[in-house]
């Protein structure tokens, strides 16, 4: 299964990135072959449409599940349309990407049914990377 985790750096032990659209990196993990790669997020500093571009990027990489701290409405819409389920890290903790993967495999992460950030700025995504790790 191909799982994507938003991260603050391109390493498995890096803290996860709390806001999907503004993540510095996406870690693409293949649980079958037990391999992974890090992709830098070109939209991290985009003035608008960061969520859209980030969602498109992970869909293009064949993500079958995405894990982050929160998802804005545009990223949410796109991932929903692509049929990719979204999961959020538990609040108040700051696990590494590796720890999040373990939590996911143990079925301990919550799947979301709605965007987790209230309306992103209409011309931009609200949410700096933060809250739980950068």
């Amino acid at each position: 299964m191909k799982i994507v985790i938003s991260a603050s750096d391109g390493k498995l032990d890096a803290p996860y990135a709390a806001h999907f659209g503004r993540a510095a990196y996406f870690l693409l993990l293949d649980t079958e072959s037990d391999t992974w790669q890090a992709v830098a997020n070109p939209a991290v500093n985009a003035s608008s449409g960061a969520g859209v571009q980030s969602a498109q990027l992970v869909v293009n990489h064949g993500a079958q599940a995405v894990i982050s701290g929160s998802f804005g409405p545009h990223a949410y819409q796109i991932l929903m349309a692509a049929g990719v389920p979204m999961f959020v890290a538990p609040a108040g903790a700051s696990p590494s990407a590796r720890q999040l993967l373990d939590l996911f495999k143990a079925g301990q992460l919550q799947q979301i049914a709605a965007p987790t950030t209230a309306a992103g700025g209409c011309h931009g995504e609200e949410g700096a990377a933060g809250e739980g790790g950068r």
Partner: protein
């Protein structure tokens, strides 16, 4: 055909108070007031229009004809706002990011994109008891962009050369004597960015309402910059004169901006406006002041023409 925009920069200085009272002081048979503050319109509270004409307004949003779409991605490529996204074989449109530019529809090699009206608000117009013609736009709650609504409102309410003639023909004002030149007064939104600029576009004169306080002065300077950039002559109304300090007056003198009216701070005026009464109803003596103000504007306009 004077088009006078009443603007301010800072909110709450009295734009609507001034705009409505100016309209009420002139020949109502040829005066049209357009409330361009489509996010929070208030002029209707003072003019009490009978809103007989109504039209939905919005932006053209793309709609993809799925059978014709080949998911080539050209639409997403040309969209400057990331409002069109291709996911697998599907095209997803994000209306919140769309600016209605039409580029995706034009550039689709399969002609697979239609545009449909995404309603963002409503335009309304009608006569008022005073005889002044009235038009306004009201943006739907939750919508982001005021400018497209303002742009369409101005077109719909009538252009400067035949505002009241058109209004009369459209049944807006059946008694309009179409001999005199129509006067169009536009009540602008607060601020200095795109909705205000959209309101100002095509104006002959900008009547800037300010208060003699540091906030008032700060925002007046910004507003003056805008009018200079748009090459629109401006004049000042100082509202709530007596509160604050003398810096606004000093600034106006320094940059050669005529102060066309001063309204002193009087609690009873504030109370009347709180009740929804126009200034000229609270203090009828101001009718003459507004007529004088208009005469000044006319002479400034004649001078600038030369």
């Amino acid at each position: 055909m004077p088009r006078i925009v009443v603007a301010s920069g800072k909110g709450g200085t009295g734009k609507t108070t001034i705009a409505t009272s100016l309209a009420l002081s002139l020949d109502s048979s040829r005066t049209l007031l357009i409330d361009c503050d489509v996010e929070a319109p208030n002029a209707h509270l003072f003019l009490q229009p009978r809103l007989e004409r109504r039209e939905e307004v919005g932006m053209l949003i793309p709609e993809v004809d799925a059978p014709r779409c080949t998911a080539c991605g050209r639409c997403a490529e040309v969209c400057a706002y990331h409002a069109v996204v291709v996911i697998g074989k599907r095209v997803l449109v994000l209306p919140q990011l769309c600016h209605g530019c039409g580029s995706c529809a034009y550039n689709c090699p399969e002609q697979a994109i239609r545009e449909r009206l995404d309603v963002m608000g409503v335009l309304e117009a009608g006569p008022t008891p005073s005889g002044v013609c009235f038009a306004r736009g009201m943006m739907q709650v939750g919508e982001a962009m005021a400018s497209p609504i303002i742009r369409q409102l101005k077109r719909w309410a009538g252009d400067g050369t035949s505002a009241c003639r058109q209004a009369a023909q459209a049944g807006l004002h059946p008694d309009a004597s179409s001999d005199g030149q129509p006067i169009v007064i536009l009540d602008a939104p607060p601020g200095v960015s795109c909705p205000v600029v959209e309101t100002l576009r095509g104006a002959d004169f900008a009547l800037l309402v300010t208060e003699p306080t540091p906030f008032g002065l700060h925002d007046l300077r910004l507003m003056v910059d805008v009018t200079r950039e748009l090459h629109i002559p401006a004049g000042i109304v100082i509202n709530r004169d007596g509160v604050g300090d003398g810096q606004v007056e000093a600034y106006c003198a320094a940059v050669d901006l005529p102060v066309l009216l001063r309204i002193p701070l009087e609690r009873s005026i504030g109370e009347g406006i709180a009740r929804g009464e126009p200034l000229v109803a609270i203090r009828p003596a101001y009718v003459a002041s507004f007529q004088q103000l208009y005469a000044c504007v006319e002479s400034i306009l004649m001078e600038t023409e030369r």
